[in-house]
């Protein structure tokens, strides 16, 4: 890995950390423990700018770092399920080439929330939690689309500095 990329890694981890902190400050009071997934901005930027492996490593580092700093075991389980499911689905969607970055980000936002719902259902052993899903689909699409637009702009501006 180039020295420049290591610096970019550090920068992205820091940015993800800040976004997670913002999320931590504004909880989503309607739903237990669920986060908007703002840090996905960094993961998707890394996926397009650096590569699949790099974005996965970044995502895991972020989740562990934020989990140990602000969270507890249950919040870390949430982010892990949301983060990993969202990464897998974004990677598949990106490879399929059906959508642009915005579509990939929307998929990421939606599956980030589906992952969190699955954990919530497992933890409280009550499938009724699934009634939160429609609202989470809508918020996932909206945050996913906004993050996608933002990430496209970032990628366009920084791409020549990457790789």
């Amino acid at each position: 890995m180039k020295t420049k990329n290591i610096a970019i890694y550090g920068l992205l981890v820091a940015l993800a950390f800040i976004l997670s902190y913002i999320e931590y400050l504004i909880p989503f009071p309607l739903m237990p423990g669920i986060k908007l997934g703002l840090a996905n901005l960094v993961v998707i930027t890394a996926m397009y700018g650096l590569g699949y492996k790099e974005s996965l490593v970044l995502s895991i580092i972020r989740i562990l770092l934020v989990g140990f700093t602000f969270g507890n075991l249950s919040t870390m389980l949430y982010s892990l399920a949301g983060g990993m499911l969202s990464w897998i689905m974004m990677a598949i969607t990106k490879k399929s080439k059906w959508f642009s970055l915005v579509g990939v980000s929307v998929i990421g936002g939606v599956f980030h929330n589906i992952g969190q719902i699955i954990v919530a259902i497992l933890i409280v052993s009550n499938p009724l939690i699934v009634t939160y899903l429609p609202l989470l689909l809508v918020t996932g699409v909206v945050t996913g689309a906004l993050i996608g637009l933002l990430a496209s702009m970032i990628i366009k501006r920084v791409n020549r500095h990457l790789r």
């Binding site: 909880p27 009071p29 309607l30 237990p32 423990g33 507890n72 249950s74 919040t75 059906w98 959508f99 642009s100 970055l101 915005v102 579509g103 929307v106 998929i107 939606v110 919530a120 933890i123 409280v124 052993s125 009550n126 009724l128 939690i129 009634t131 899903l133 429609p134 609202l135 989470l136 689909l137 809508v138 996932g140 699409v141 689309a145 996608g148 637009l149 496209s152």
Partner: protein
């Protein structure tokens, strides 16, 4: 930058999400009881027409206190670190829930009119 496929994707998910929200909203009905569950098992139920304050106590000193007032159930205090259950809005309609993940406590409104979803679930 944005492909046609992206817009179709966004549209389809929005329609599903908003459609389901509308369906749930139209099928809302007040429940008649609250079921108090811990670790996935029902501990006790209360009728919504009695006004009470009740504290659920867990194994290692964990506790959650909720009230029933005018048919609405609200978590008013809890020992959990995140207080998400306390910040949750009060619940009143059939199948609504308040969850406390750290303490594994769940309050669920039950006992609305029997509907097809119930018959399947039972």
């Amino acid at each position: 930058m944005v492909k046609k496929n992206d817009l179709i994707l966004i549209g389809v998910i929005l329609i599903i999400g908003i459609g389901a929200l509308l369906f749930m909203y139209l099928n809302n009905e007040a429940g008649s009881k609250v079921s108090v569950q811990m670790n996935g098992e029902e501990i006790i139920t209360f009728d919504l027409d009695e006004d009470i304050t009740y504290t659920i106590e867990g194994d290692n000193g964990a506790w959650n206190t909720f009230t029933i007032k005018d048919g609405h159930v609200d978590m008013i205090d809890a020992s959990c670190p995140d207080k998400i259950c306390v910040n949750h809005k009060d619940i009143h309609y059939d199948h609504e829930t308040i969850t406390c993940l750290p303490n594994q406590v769940l309050l669920e409104i039950i006992g609305g009119e029997e509907n097809p979803i119930d018959s399947i679930a039972n």
